[in-house]
Amino acid sequence: MDNEHLDVTKAVAIVENIKEIIDANKEFLTRLDSAIGDADHGINMSRGFAKALEKVRNNQYNDIGAVFKDVAMTLMSTVGGAAGPLYGTFFMRASMKLAGQKEADLTLLAQAFREGLQGVVALGKAQLGDKTMVDALTPAIEALEAAAKQGLPLKEGLKRALDMAEKGMKDTIPLVARKGRASYLGERSAGHQDPGATSSYLILKAICEALGV
């Protein structure tokens, strides 16, 4: 098995893993969301990735972009809330970068995730430090890009990205929310971990596990 590339089989395994990890953390995400949001994040994400996996399993793919495009379209039409368009856009923009590719190395993966993050920022208008998914994704993707530049192995790059996502997620705890429903809490949102940053970390964790990190 080639350890330096993401291929179609691994892309499908990623979707399976995300579905499992989101399911296992459904209550946890919902609990985080009920502290500073509207208590539906775990429920909505779980519904979305169950449908995405169903779609991906029922299809044959020749390129990894097509896998993530189906994930994107399914999330957009089943998740709802803010998470649906945001994660839908992340996977859609990433899939455009991966379109037609049978495999992706660390450099291409970093580029695809960067595109995804740019889509999220354009749609949600969140800045770093607003207590959103951007706070987990930004340092993770920066780590991925740095690892690619240094020519590190794929697994090492992903491991560093995951560590940074975890740090970014935990760093949302003291922040005051500036976007989404949590922003209505003002100062009262401080002291709670952001559910969106948490689901972003979990998705990255699922990707890492699917690739044997």
Binding site: S34, D38, A39, D40, N44, M76, L86, L123, Y184, G186
Partner: protein, 332 residues
């Protein structure tokens, strides 16, 4: 959790099914997408469409019908609907005169409606959007997602729907909707939280003698929490920031809307209306139209919201115009 349901996964689906069966003379379900349509759509007029999370009934699905909405797209409970719903609803009710989306200011609603608008515009269908943001409880709009759309949405849907019904152009209907939004202010309060069926637990906790002033319609926190007070004092706490914000002045003619959050008896809402009427009279603000009842709810939450709309002659005429929907019906 005690609720009259069969399956938490099917709350929205089964409730919608009952709604269209009960009002088959007015509304129907879209054959494939989750949307409620006027039974006689498409009409040769601007199509007015709204939508948002479920759990606020009768808003929005109960406002589909003559003189109000052409379609409504309900999401899961308290969760914004998805772009394919608005896209399919718009295609189904498009009468060739354009589409107006009335959107409440929540991050999810804004993003999902925007994506639907992009999809329609890509097909050459003229579509405009107006975002309702009337909740004065959100003080620091600069550092938040901005003021939420609450009670003003119901009034906008009625007035704008009447304008579209009488043949207003897309530009006219949109600018009227913006005018309603510019002249309407609201604030709510909760005596108890509510429980989202899929979550199974209350969205927040309030002590037995505590209330939350400035609550949102999804149980989002308000300005502050305090001990229960007499209705008169609560009305003053809600109405003062509303009046000061626009500001409403002596001599203004207003529509006063006292809304129940779902679990408060009508008798208490009339006590609130009575106190509000006294409060406004002292300020010289004239109530020339009113609406009292459960129109934009938060599941079984106990509490109320107050909305004031400064009326002009056109708004008055359009408010009085005939309407025939499951949730609002007069003049026909």
């Amino acid at each position: 959790m005690k609720k009259l349901i069969n399956d938490v996964e099917k709350v929205v689906e089964e409730s919608l099914s009952g709604l269209v069966k009960a009002h088959a003379d007015l509304i129907k379900l879209h054959p494939s997408a989750r949307a409620v349509l006027r039974v006689d759509s498409p009409k040769e007029k601007v199509a007015v469409i709204s939508g948002g999370g479920s759990g606020h009934e009768p808003m929005h699905t109960g406002y589909v019908g003559y003189g109000m909405l052409d379609a409504a797209c309900p999401g899961e409970i308290f969760t914004s609907p998805t772009p394919d719903q608005m896209y399919e609803a718009a295609k189904a009710v498009n009468g060739g005169k354009g589409i107006l989306f009335i959107v409440k200011n929540y991050s999810g609603d804004i993003m999902n409606f925007q994506m639907a608008a992009d999809m329609l515009a890509a097909e050459g269908i003229p579509v405009e959007q107006v975002v309702i943001n009337d909740d004065v409880a959100v003080e620091n709009s600069l550092y938040t997602a901005g003021r939420r759309g609450v009670g003003g949405t119901v009034l906008a849907e009625k007035i704008v729907g009447a304008k579209a019904e009488e043949g207003g152009s897309l530009e006219e209907v949109k600018s009227l909707c913006e005018r309603v939004n510019a002249n309407v202010r609201s604030m709510g309060m909760a005596l108890t939280p509510c429980t989202v069926p899929a979550a199974g637990k209350p969205t927040f906790e309030l002590g037995p003698d505590e209330i939350e002033i400035g609550i949102g319609i999804h149980g989002e926190p308000g300005r502050h929490r305090m001990k229960l007070k007499p209705a008169r004092e609560i009305v003053e706490m809600l109405a003062t920031p509303i009046v000061d914000d626009l500001p409403f002045k002596a001599g203004d003619e207003v529509l006063a809307f006292v809304n129940g959050m779902g679990g408060t008896p009508l008798s208490e809402l009339y006590i609130v209306y009575n106190d509000l009427s006294d409060f406004l009279e002292k300020k010289g603000i004239k109530i020339v139209r009113n609406l009292v009842g459960n129109y934009i709810t938060s599941l079984e939450m106990q509490g109320c919201s107050i909305t004031l709309l400064r009326l002009d002659d056109e708004m008055k005429r359009l408010w009085d115009a005939p309407v025939c929907t499951p949730g609002l019906r007069w003049g026909m």
